[in-house]
């Protein structure tokens, strides 16, 4: 599907239902204007997110992936976000190995009351992805060098 040619990039968000999806709703209710690039996939818990989802998104053409869950210790399911944190941190370290710029993937914590924080997260991440530009599939030599530098 056209992403409104060059105006938007393809950014996918995986949000836990209880905190961050609620936070995004709170941002909407508060009319906190945000860039339109992000598309949200609702999942019950950040612990539900298989790193595979993020990889599939990035390999399938997404320019950026944002994951957000409940703040640590405040998980609706007690400890799901602790598992998420470990998995996602590992994934982030692993992305350069796959030739993916790790800056294309971020994870964060936003509670259901933090509408304004959600706005800031979306603005900052969207700006970051626009700074990187569209993903180009497998990287070419110059980008590999950058990736190696980031990995170091």
């Amino acid at each position: 599907m056209s992403v409104l040619n060059t105006k938007e990039l393809r950014i996918i968000g995986f949000l836990c239902n209880w905190c961050s999806y609620g936070g995004a709703d709170t941002a909407g209710v508060g009319r906190f204007t945000q860039p339109t690039d992000l598309r949200v996939v609702r999942v019950p818990c950040s612990g539900r997110i298989n790193p595979l989802f993020i990889l599939k998104s990035l390999l399938g053409g997404a320019d950026g992936v944002l994951v957000s869950g409940c703040h640590p210790r405040d998980c609706h399911y007690a400890e799901g976000n602790f598992y998420a944190r470990r998995r996602l941190e590992l994934l982030k370290g692993f992305l350069p190995v796959l030739g993916i710029d790790p800056r294309r993937f971020e994870y964060t914590w936003v509670s259901a009351s933090e509408g304004q924080r959600w706005q800031h997260v979306v603005e900052a991440f969207t700006a970051q992805i626009h700074g990187l530009g569209p993903a180009r599939g497998w990287p070419e030599a110059p980008e590999l060098e950058i990736l190696n530098a980031v990995a170091r």
Partner: protein
């Protein structure tokens, strides 16, 4: 599959920045979409009827509604499709209001985004399965955490409705902040006269079990069947034997202990009964002040106790209980007023907090209801009240209005005049906020009848001069600087969430905002529910409120709990994990990660396999992401369903 798509205008909420007809036209081209239309208000009765009619007319087998957040109306539309004969889980929502129309004004981008969200929802719906709930029995017992006026009201209402109630209170007595108040606004009626009988009702009610001086240790389980551990703190007094005679408190030699109930206005003993009307009226020893427990020498209370109730070897006790629902009513605390160095709180003895002043006014307080300056015991003539100490101040991270300070300051000014007729009160205020029944009349009365001088402006400095305090501030209405010679300065200290509210929220698995107040299910429509089924909120723990509102919310929380626990059986949410036995290798990783112990190992023809206990699983999907085989899948959020959403975005 035949999918019907309904794009809601929500009046102009969505249609204002999204071309709904264009979204519907685009949706009609998506795979399996048999019917797509836009609709004015999908949730209104005509809207729901139109959905039902379309399901029947076009033989739809699944429905996508693109409207507001599913956290708002998913249950509504699930019932709608159910009324049309579909399974309620053959339904998906696309959130094109909170996530699209309300956060951007670019119609082209919004329309495109809305269409894509609908594509995602439709792609997921194609893989939805019909799900049916299981039912499980409910424990008809309610836990109320916090014995302030909100918790008392909730406990009494629930107990009167026939529920067993467990009331847990952190302090040695129930009553909360209201018990500390002398009078209440706007009627100036005696606080303990109206609260006292309620407290007695709690003690005498056959359905209420009160655990005072106790805290919630842990909570496990789920709606209908929470398993709660309560830590009964060691009071070093056997409350079965204690008659509350108070002999021990008279004889205790540790007379310099901090008096928590009286906000430190006067000292107290190490063994205390907080106040005469305390419920339960039992003595307890504060360990850090007791000479025997800290120094090993004393034992006076044990010698004088006529019933031999003192037990220095007492230890904390853990009580376990199963309850069907929980009401959190943990109230508030005052913010730390000492951070305002300019007011001299904590430095000058004659600068007191509003709650300390309340104890001075109270006939049962340490001064016997006589207003005396803490420094020299002299009756003050000029009393200055400073409002908004810690309220509406972003610089200390408290930008909100505490809500009740304007009113209690007005009340305290009236009481000051009543106690000391030749006194003069001055009130430095930012705005007078009195939106309640009879409230504004009250704040007028204090100025017109009681001649309190209201000065609109902030105080910049309080400093001592002789035996007086000079309060320097601005009068912004006159545009001049003013200085008032005061005998006593009362700080109207703002409130914040109770100090350990975040810890409790984590135990109850409910959300709290950045100030520590618990999050209600919906700011308007679910003011006492939380997003955790079976947990309800009452009183100031949800957001600051005065006594009438706290009582109202206590009753509301009780009504919700009664509604829940009036049922014998509850339906479990069928969005839970399930195991494909032929893919499961029996590694047990899912059993390890499950936070609810909802997965057990079974033996299937000699092979170990995982099995989900259906009424225990809460549907977090942690096991799903852990399983190396993809054998355990979360219904309604399977790997394939989530990947279908991703693919709907990425392939094109």
């Amino acid at each position: 599959m035949r999918i019907g798509v309904f794009i809601c205008h929500c009046g102009s909420n969505i249609a204002g920045t999204v071309d709904c007809a264009a979204v519907a036209a685009k949706a009609a081209t998506y795979p399996d979409v048999a019917y797509a239309t836009d609709i004015m208000y999908a949730c209104a009765e005509p809207g729901q009827d139109a959905i039902i009619a379309a399901i029947k007319e076009h033989q739809l087998s699944g429905v996508v509604v693109a409207s507001c957040t599913p956290r708002m109306h998913e249950p509504t539309f699930r019932k709608t499709v159910e009324r049309a004969g579909l399974n309620r889980y053959m339904f998906e929502m696309a959130n094109i209001r909170e996530h699209v129309s309300w956060i951007g004004k670019d119609i082209e981008a919004n329309t495109n985004k809305a269409a894509e969200l609908v594509r995602m929802a439709a792609a997921k719906l194609r893989l939805n399965k019909e799900l049916k709930p299981k039912s499980f029995p409910v424990t008809k017992r309610l836990l109320v955490v916090g014995g302030g006026v909100a918790g008392i009201q909730a406990a009494l209402d629930a107990a009167d409705a026939g529920l067993e109630v467990i009331l847990v209170e952190k302090q040695p007595t129930i009553g909360g902040k209201m018990a500390k108040l002398d009078k209440t606004f706007p009627t100036v009626d005696c606080s303990s006269c109206i609260l006292g009988p309620r407290m007695v009702d709690v003690a005498q009610h056959p359905n209420i079990t009160l655990y005072a001086y106790s805290e919630v240790e842990s909570v496990s389980g789920y709606v209908g069947n929470f398993d709660v551990k309560i830590r009964k703190k060691a009071s070093y007094v056997d409350w079965v034997k204690c008659t509350g005679c108070g002999l021990c408190t008279e004889k205790c030699p540790a007379r310099k202990s901090y008096d928590r109930f009286n906000e430190g206005v006067g000292p107290t003993t190490a063994i205390i009964i907080p106040f005469p009307q305390a419920i339960p009226k039992k003595a307890s020893i504060e360990r850090e002040h007791c000479r025997l427990l800290t120094g090993g020498k004393c034992g006076v209370c044990a010698k004088v106790c006529p019933t031999g109730a003192i037990n220095y070897a007492m230890e904390d006790e853990i009580i376990e209980a199963r309850v069907g629902g929980i009401v959190a009513a943990t109230g508030y605390d005052l913010i730390d007023w000492k951070i305002y160095e300019e007011y001299g709180g904590g430095r000058y003895p004659d600068v007191v907090t509003s709650l300390q002043y309340e104890r001075m006014l109270s006939a049962s307080g340490p001064t016997g209801g006589h207003i005396k300056r803490p420094s020299d015991g002299v009756e003050p003539k000029d009393v200055v009240f400073i409002q908004c100490v810690g309220s509406r101040d972003p610089s200390i991270g408290r930008p909100y209005c505490s809500g009740f300070c304007c009113m209690y300051t007005a009340k305290q000014a009236i009481l000051t005049k009543d106690h000391i007729p030749d006194s003069q009160s001055y009130v430095f205020y930012m705005d007078i906020r009195s939106p309640g029944k009879g409230y504004d009349e009250f704040t007028r009365r204090v100025q017109e009848e009681y001649k309190a001088r209201y000065i609109r402006g902030r105080v910049s400095l309080v400093y001592p001069k002789g035996n007086k305090l000079i309060v320097r501030g601005a009068d912004t209405l006159m545009g001049v600087q003013v200085e008032v010679e005061a005998d006593l300065v009362v700080l109207a200290v703002g409130a914040e969430a109770a100090s350990e509210s975040a810890k409790l929220a984590e135990k109850l698995r409910i959300s709290y905002d950045s100030y520590g107040f618990f999050m209600e299910g919906h700011p308007k429509l679910k003011p006492v529910e939380t997003n955790t089924a079976g947990v309800f909120l009452a009183g100031a723990c949800q957001g600051l409120k005065d006594i009438p509102s706290s009582v109202a919310q206590g009753s509301a929380a009780a009504a919700k709990a009664i509604g829940l626990l009036s049922r014998d059986m509850l339906d479990s949410d069928p969005q839970i994990a399930f195991v494909s036995a032929n893919r499961c290798v029996g590694c047990g990783k899912c059993i390890e990660v499950c936070p609810f112990k909802a997965i057990q190992e079974i033996d299937l023809r000699g092979q170990p396999k995982a099995e989900v206990i259906e009424t225990v699983c809460q549907g977090c999907g942690l096991c799903n992401a852990t399983c190396p085989q993809g054998a355990i899948q979360l219904s309604h959020f399977t790997d394939n369903q989530i990947l279908a959403e991703v693919e709907a975005l990425c392939r094109f």
